[in-house]
Symmetry: C2
Subunit: 192 residues, 2 copies
Amino acid sequence: MSVQERKERERAARERLIVATARELAEQQGWDAVTTRRLAERIEYSQPVLYSHFRGKREIIGAVALEGVAEMAVALRTATSAADGARARVTALARTYLEFAERNPAVYDAMFQLDGGLAFAAEDTPEPLKDGFAALLESLGEVAGDGVNPGLFTEVFWAALHGLATLTRAGRLPPAEAERRVELLVDRLAMI
Amino acid sequence: MSVQERKERERAARERLIVATARELAEQQGWDAVTTRRLAERIEYSQPVLYSHFRGKREIIGAVALEGVAEMAVALRTATSAADGARARVTALARTYLEFAERNPAVYDAMFQLDGGLAFAAEDTPEPLKDGFAALLESLGEVAGDGVNPGLFTEVFWAALHGLATLTRAGRLPPAEAERRVELLVDRLAMI
DNA sequence: TCACTTGTCTAGCGGTGCTAGGATCGGGTC
DNA sequence: GACCCGATCCTAGCACCGCTAGACAAGTGA
C-alpha cells in the first residue's frame, strides 16, 4: 500500500504546513489576523481543507500551543542543564521562560491566553503539557524548601513567571526593570 | 438651560446602562456573547446608539475594566484596613484579590486579559488605574524588605497574584490547593 | 476503458463590528 | 399655537468572520 503511505505522508506534511503558517501569521500580524480565509490562502488551499485536518480554528490554536509547549520545554531543559548549582538553574529557568514569552508572543498567547481547547491538570491532559510542567518541576522542585510540596511550589513559581510575562507584554509593567524583577523573584521564592 | 441638563443626565444614565448591561451579559454568558447587537437589544436601543457613546466595542470593554479596577481598589482597601499588622494585611490583600478575580471573572478579563484600549504604566494612564496600583502599593510597600524598591516589589507580588488568578481560572491549576498557594506566596515574598 | 472512491472547491449560511443616510421627534421662535 | 430646524435615532447595508453542503474533478483499482 505504497500509494496510501505516500498520501498519508503528504497529508501529514500539509497539516504541519497549516500549523506552521498559522503560527507565522499570528507572530507577524497577531491572532486576530489568523482567519480561516487568510490561512487557507497562504497554504494555497481552499478553506474547507482546514476542516479536514482540524475541527475548527480553536483546534488549530491548540496545535500551535502544543508545539510551543514542547519547544519551551526543550529551551528550559537546555538552559538549566547548562547551569551549575540550584540557584543558577532557577535563574536560568526564569530568564528562559520570560525570554520565550517575549520572543514568541503569539505562541505564548496560544499556550495560555487563548482558548485552544486543551485540558490542563486533568487525566486527559496531552503528554507535551505534562512534560512541560515536568520541565519546570525538575529545576524548581529542588528549591521548594523543607516541608513544601515541590508541585505546589512549582505552581506558585510558574504563576509568578506567567504573571510577569503577561503583564509585561500587555504593557502593564514597564519593561525596563524586568531583570530586577526576576532577581527579586528568585531571591525570595527559591530556598537556596 | 434646564432642558439640556436633563438631556445630559439621561445621556449619562444611558451610558451607565450600557456599561452595566455589558458587564452583566459578560458575567452571565462570557464576553463572546457580548455582541453589539445583543447589547443594543438589551438596552432597548438600536446598535448605532452604542457608537454615539463609545468608539467601539473595545471602549465598552475598557469602561467595564475601569469600573472593575475602581471596585477592586475599594475591596482591597476595605480588607487591608480591617487587618492588624503587616502580615495580616498582605494576606488579606492576596485573598481579596484572588476572590475578586474568581467572583468577577468577566470583569477581571476586561481588566487584564482583553484589550480594552487602556494605557497602563504611562503618563496618560487613567486615574482609577493609578489608584488601583496605589491600593496594592499601600499594603505591599511596607513588606518589600530593606533595599528593595517598594514599587518593584509590588509589581512582582501583583504579577504572582495575577498569574495565580488567571492560571487557576483557566483550569491550569487545580483549585483545591489555592489557599496553600497564597500562604506560600505570602510567606516567601513578604519580608515580615 | 470504465466505474467508483476520494479529495477539493465553489457557493452560501448566519453571524460579527461598524456606518451612511433617511426619518422622526422635540425645543425654540415668531 | 404653528412652524422651522437641529439633534437624535433607526433602517439598511457594508465587508468580514467561522463553518458547511453539495457539485465537481482527479486519481484508483478492476
